[in-house]
Structures are given as C-alpha cells and as structure tokens.
C-alpha cells in the first residue's frame, strides 16, 4: 500500500514544462485497448491500497493502482462485491484502468457499470492539480459530475489517483439456465423477452447455439425464476452457483476470443435485429453488447447499426493506429476537444489514445 501522488504531480509538472507527453499505465492489463499509446510512461500501479472501506455504508475507497483482485478479496470477506464484474483480461487489472476504460462484465445491464457505481474520485489534471470530485456518499449533485465523466475517457482528461465506489452485497443464490437455441436472431428476441420479466436477471448471453441466462438474488426468487423459465421455454440445463462460463466470458478467455483476428464490439439497442448472420458472433448483455470476430471495414460495420443509433469499435487486434472508436458528429467532436482542453490544456495525457485528433 503506497501513496506516490506527490511524485505523480511532479512528473506531470515536469512533462508540461518540457513539452513532453505522458502515457498513463495502471497495471497494463488493457494496453491492447484504444489506439496505440504514445508518450513517456506514467506509472500509477505503485499508487495503490485500500484507503477506507465501510461495509455498512456500501462504500469502498481505493487508490487507482489497486488491483481488482485485492479489492475483491477485501469485499468477499464482508460478503460484498463489485457488481459490475470487472475483467483482468488474463493479467492483473487496476481499478483506475477499469474506470478509465469503462469496461464492465456480463451483469452490466442489471448490475450496473463501473461508471454507474463511481461515487467520487481524485484526479491529477493536466495542470498538475490534484483535485477531488464527488465523495463517498451515494447522492452528491454538487458541481458537474467530473468523477463519472472519467469513465471511458481513457485517461485523456487526467490521471485518476483514487476512486470511491458503491459496492453491493453478494447475492444469496445464483443459478444459470442453459437453453439450446440455434438462431442468434431468436436468441435476441428471447433475451429481451426475459428482460421484461421482473425476475432477478444478472446475465444473458448467446454463443454457438446456446443461450445462457443467469439469475441471482434471494434463494426463492432465483428458484422461482428458473422454474418459470423452464415452464415457458421447455427443458434447460440448470447450473447452480458460480458457473465457469460467466467468468470466462468476463475474462474473454472463452475460445471465441482466442487468436488475433480483429475483435469488434457493438454497443446497440438490445432489440436490434441480428445482422451478418453468417459471421462469428457472441451476443451478450441481453443483446446490448455484441462481439464479432473477423476482418471487416469499420465503416461497413458502422453502417449496419447506423439506423439503430448503435456504435461499433475495434476492441482488440487489427490496426491500432487508425480510428478504433465510433466517430462522433463534428459538434460532439468540438465538445470533446474543448473539454479535453479544459482539463489538460497542453494535451499532456494519453495523446491520441481515444482519437487521433484528441
């Protein structure tokens, strides 16, 4: 457990005065994500440790370099968890990087995202100022939501040094029903249909002719949800407890994610009709997050989801020097540029990590 905030501030000030750029590195688990990083290494991993944790308040505060594993171990002792199921991507993730990338696991539509669970944070902006926004309470609407805007900002607005998160109790029971279903198109309809039911859903994913539905919560609520599902849809293979599939999905260690073919991520309305049926798909988040493997042109993929106001990004592999994220309108780009300048006037942090022009 260590606090290196003073050194970090000095590094920022020094980079500014030298005209150098900085590449923020947590624990390096997501170095594959975003555009190719440039700049001098700005290592945050040694700025770590749980600062405080109040289980009865459902709040945990940790320095940005703290590993997800350390947080989960501390929470587990109190029967609590990070409801957004962060991934380590086969390595060791930090909470700072998890928030900066806004990547959440299979429970996201029902268990919230890391963006949703952030209560406050500390940040070193591009002026070398160490600032605090939000707090350690759930309801805090003073000033703009600077804490939450760091989610998905890929470090472009500053270096996160400390985060306060809302945590939740672990569910009393978890069960997964696996239904055979060949058609992805039908699976999307079924997942959306299940999502309209008030049952305690916490995962809905289709892959290779199998539909996985996870319920978690009070024991009898999970039992009755499974029973209703079986009544409605016929036989299903029911697995209790923590099922490997969800961990492998969260960690992207399923065979679907193996190899170095480009991995595309679609963020779309959960009801968007299936398209390119011949391609290699994994459909998660009840239809709202879809993964595609293969060599495609980003513009062609974006065209597929344009009418539905969806977005596609090149998540992993492929050319990391081009634009990999959804291209916004000129007006939104202008707001991005101005907002970047408001935090980081010399564009010190993570230049080009999100977009070439940012």
């Amino acid at each position: 457990m260590s606090d290196i905030s003073q050194q970090l501030i000095e590094q920022v000030n020094s980079a500014r005065s030298d005209g150098r750029k900085l590449n923020i590195i947590g624990r390096g688990s997501k170095s594959f994500y975003g555009r190719t990083a440039t700049g001098d290494h700005f290592n945050v991993a040694e700025h770590n440790g749980i600062v405080n944790y109040h289980p009865a308040e459902l709040v945990l505060t940790a320095r940005a370099g703290t590993s997800i594993a350390e947080l989960e171990a501390a929470l587990d002792k109190e029967g609590q968890m990070l409801s957004f199921e962060p991934s380590n991507f086969g390595s060791e993730a930090s909470i700072g990087g998890t928030l900066a990338c806004n990547l959440s696991g299979p429970s996201r539509p029902w268990g919230s995202s890391v963006r949703d669970m952030v209560l406050g944070l500390r940040l070193i902006n591009g002026r070398g100022e160490h600032l605090r926004f939000g707090g350690q309470v759930m309801k805090n609407v003073a000033g703009y939501d600077v804490a939450r805007v760091q989610a998905g900002a890929m470090g472009c607005l500053g270096a996160i040094t400390e985060i306060s998160l809302k945590v939740l109790p672990k569910p009393a029971a978890v069960a997964t029903a696996v239904l055979p279903l060949d058609s992805a198109h039908e699976a999307i309809a079924v997942m959306n249909d299940f999502s309209r039911d008030p049952a305690p859903m916490m995962g809905a994913c289709w892959l290779e002719g199998q539909l996985y539905i996870r319920y978690s919560g009070a024991g009898n609520a999970v039992d009755s949800a499974i029973n209703r599902l079986i009544q409605q849809y016929g036989e299903a293979n029911v697995l209790s407890g923590d099922v490997t599939f969800w961990r492998e999905l969260r960690e992207q260690s399923l065979a679907f994610f193996a190899g170095d073919r480009p991995l595309w991520r679609f963020s779309v309305a959960s009801t968007l009709n299936h398209f390119m049926p011949e391609a290699d798909w994994l459909i998660d988040w009840g239809g709202a997050q879809r993964w595609l493997r293969g060599d495609f042109k980003q513009e062609e993929l974006q065209w597929q989801v344009e009418s539905g106001n969806g977005q596609v990004s090149l998540f992993r592999h492929g050319n990391r020097d081009g634009e990999v994220f959804f291209e916004h309108s000129e007006a939104i780009k202008t707001l991005h540029h101005r907002l970047k300048a408001s935090f980081d006037p010399d564009f010190v942090f993570n230049p080009g990590r999100l977009y070439r022009w940012l």
Binding site: G79, E129, V141, Q311
Partner: protein, 478 residues
C-alpha cells in the same frame, strides 16, 4: 453590442413563435419569477414558450448572438432556485414539450419531451408492466427535463439509482443553437461521457429537447415495513443492520418526531405520534423474495428495540403508509407559516451525531426543525420552520441552513444530494470544493458556454463573490 430591449427581443421571437407565447407584460411574467424556492424571486425580461425543436434552436441562436442570458424552465418545482430568472434574460419554458414520443416495451425504453411529468412516464408505461424508477417526491408535477438537469433522486434511488443511472440518451441544444445527440441507444457511448456531465448540470451547459429513459419491469410485489423507535440511535443502527444483512431495500426512509406528527395530522396514515423516529422500509421483488426479506427486516427491527412494527397487507395500505412520508413537506407547511427544506448527504453512520448537532443549532437559532431522511443513502432533508413575516427570521433560517450544510461536509458528506446547488447553496460550494476545483468547473463551463449566458449565476460560484452576494441578497428580499 447593444442588447435588445424586451420588446425588440419579443418582436424577433414573434417572427417564428406564436406571439401569445412570447411574454413581456409584468402580470403574465409573475408566475415565472421563482421556482419552488420562492424566497428567491426575480422578474425576467421575457418568457418564451416554444413548441418545436427548431424554435428552441432559433431562440438560442438569437440569445447567443445578442449575449442574452437564458434560463431553461420545466415545471418550476426545483428547490434551489435553479430556475430563478435573470433580470436581463429570457426564461425559456419547455412546458409545451409535453409529449411522450415513443414507448418501446420490448427494448424497455421511453423517448419523451423534456416537459413530460416524471409520474406520467410510469403511468403510461404501466400498461406494459414497466415503470420509470427515479421518483422525486414532486413527481406528480416535476418534469423529466428538470430531473436530468438536477440528477434527481427520490425514495427508490437507493435500489434503482438516480436519474444519471436511468437515462440513455438526450437531444440537447447548445448555447450556439446547434442540436446534438448525447448518448446512444446502447448502454454506453464512445469517447467522453457527456451524458454524465449534462446530467446534474443545472441548465448551465445546454437545453434539452428530448430524453430517452430506461424502463424497468414492475416488481411482482412491493411491501412496506413501518417501525417506530424511541431513539434516533436505535433507528439508525437498524438501518445499518439491514444493509449489513445483504438486503438492499427498494426504499428506506426515516422521519423524526416533528415530521411524524405533522405527517400524521395531515394524512392520517396511522403513524405513531409518540415515536422519536419512524422507519419506512420497502421491499420489492418476487412474492417469495419479498416475504423472506420482510421477515428478516421485521426481525432486525425487533432486535433494535422497535416499539411498534406494522407491515402493509396490500397495495392500498402500502400507498397509504408512503403517503405520509411523501407529503411530509406540505404537512410541515401546515404547522408553520414557512419552512425551508435543506438537502445534504452524510454517511449513514453519522446520523445520530448530525441530528444531535442540529438540535443544538435549533436551540441556538430558536427555530424548530423537522427531519426527513433518505436513511438508505444518507440524504438528509431538515425542514427549518420559520415565519418570513418576522423581521430577520429568513436571514436566521438561511444562516442555520448553511451551518447544516457545513456540518454535512465536516462529517464526510456533501452539500446537496438531489436538489442541486442553484443559487441557494452557491456560498457553500466553497466549503465542499477548493479554488482549483471550482476553476476546473469553470473551465468545463467555458467548453460549453464561453460567454456564460446559460443560467448565469447558478451552480458554481464565480470570482466576483461580493457582487454576486449583493445581488443575491437583493433578489432574496424582492
């Protein structure tokens, strides 16, 4: 550049907006002088009620060109004077934007205009077995546009989140009059989370013309467990125990003696008037889940010496038990000529200490306080009872309120949980944030509104503090 006179501006607007909805006469302007915090009043130069997005854009372009301040207004129910007009500005009312454009029951979303009432969204979604979760107590009147501006909460936000957790996308008109879409139809959007920045921005960054919200399946069952305690400490400890047991209630509210008595006299819900503290705990979910959790909560309440426990037997009784809490503010209004509702958040564990300190302050100022508390998330609503007709009493009340907010920050909380900063808490922003943090807020504002014409003087204190306070005092006593 010379600013246009009200009549010149009205003439410009009347070229594309029905002149009946371009208001300059003093009498018709008067309902727009304040929002729900009526102690802060200011007559605007002009009020305009457009009914199309293009009209809103054109109003914004004209105001931007002439550097005329614009204050957006929904239903005017806000409690921090966020919609108080600017004396040389325009009130841009979104009251005519009151249509629900589309409810998609399969995708569980509703696309609505900003002037749609919060409760109407749930009422119209009910036929599909869906509802919109954030439920501020003003939901019968407040608008979704205003909810986004304030990042509104409500009783059920403990389990279901604030507005920011339940909005997917907005259409916004920038200060230059450009229409932008922020968010997407998916659950996230690439780049900076502008939606998070806009939510809770109190009309300072843009004007909304459309909001897409998430709808949730209506729970199979909801039940309320009400318990009386003879000490705040016991009630507070019971709250902590519920959370520690792994139960996240749909709602968990506390009222103190004054609030209980006022609410019971008003609603006759059956609140025990001799209780020092009352807890209302709502469980929702499947029938079996609610039964299980209700038993657990009852047991916890008994363990913490509840003096009485009542469980709602049906939906009608559940609604009745909530009625008292939800009408606590008007109920308190019956026992005092005026009241001032504060809004701060504290860590739950600090509740007993904060209430003790407030009692001391209450004695010091000679003003009664009734407390209503979102016990589940620590959001406190002390209602300071006063009489504005007594010279100096409002000033004393404001001072008392400011001290309460300072206390909230002192114990690790914040100055506003859901009502926003507006004008009301602008002085206390310097207690919660240092100068560099405030400067960062100003930089963000400059990115969206470099001339500072969107809702100026609200939310973030500016450098010329003295000037601002003088004009605040003037407005407060108008």
């Amino acid at each position: 550049m010379t600013k246009p006179t009200p009549h010149e501006l009205a003439a410009m607007f009347s070229e594309f907006i029905d002149p009946e909805y371009v208001i300059v006469d003093k009498e018709t302007l008067s309902p727009y002088e304040c929002d729900g915090l009526s102690m802060y009043c200011q007559q605007p130069m002009l009020v305009v009620l457009p009914e199309t997005v293009e009209q809103v854009q054109q109003v914004m372009r004209i105001c931007h060109h002439h550097e005329v301040p614009v204050v957006a207004r929904g239903a005017g129910t806000g409690l921090s004077a966020g919609a108080m007009p600017h004396s040389e500005g325009v009130v841009l009312s979104l009251a005519k934007f009151k249509n629900i454009l589309e409810i998609d029951p399969v995708a569980r979303t509703a696309r609505v205009q900003p002037g749609v009432r919060n409760l109407l969204i749930s009422e119209e979604s009910a036929q599909y077995g869906l509802y919109y979760a954030p439920d501020p107590s003003s939901q019968i009147a407040c608008t979704i546009g205003g909810n986004v501006a304030e990042n509104s909460g409500g009783v059920h936000c403990l389990k279901y989140g604030l507005t920011v957790h339940n909005v997917l996308k907005v259409e916004m008109i920038t200060v230059e009059g450009e229409k932008v879409t922020i968010g997407s139809d998916g659950l996230d959007s690439a780049g900076f989370d502008l939606l998070a920045l806009i939510t809770g921005s109190e009309g300072l960054l843009g004007v909304l013309t459309e909001v897409t919200v998430k709808l949730l399946p209506t729970p199979e069952k909801a039940q309320v467990v009400m318990a009386a305690f003879d000490s705040i400490q016991n009630a507070g400890n019971a709250v902590g125990a519920i959370i520690s047991h792994g139960i996240i209630p749909a709602g968990l509210e506390m009222m103190d003696r004054y609030a209980i008595q006022a609410a019971e006299d008003f609603c006759k819900a059956g609140y025990p008037k001799d209780a020092k503290a009352l807890l209302l705990c709502e469980l929702d979910g499947s029938v079996a889940e609610v039964e299980e959790h209700t038993k657990e909560v009852e047991s916890i309440f008994k363990n913490f010496d509840a003096t009485s426990i009542r469980v709602s037997r049906d939906e009608a009784e559940r609604v009745l038990l909530w009625k008292g809490r939800k009408s606590a503010f008007p109920a308190v209004g019956r026992i005092s000529p005026d009241y001032y509702c504060m809004d701060g958040t504290i860590p739950r564990g600090q509740l007993a200490y904060v209430l003790e300190e407030m009692e001391k302050m209450s004695e010091h100022y000679g003003l009664r306080v009734a407390n209503v508390f979102h016990a589940g998330d620590g959001n406190l609503h002390p209602l300071i009872l006063f009489d504005a007709n007594v010279p100096g009493e409002f000033e004393k009340t404001e001072e008392f309120g400011g001290k309460i907010l300072e206390l909230c920050v002192e114990v690790g909380g914040c100055i506003t949980g859901e009502h926003g900063v507006g004008i009301e808490k602008i002085r206390q922003m310097e207690i919660q944030f240092n100068q560099q943090e405030l400067a960062q807020f100003h930089s963000i504002k400059d990115a969206f509104d470099p001339k500072g014409t969107l809702n100026p003087g609200k939310g973030i204190p500016v450098l010329k503090r003295c000037q601002e306070y003088r004009s605040l005092d003037h407005a407060a006593h108008a």
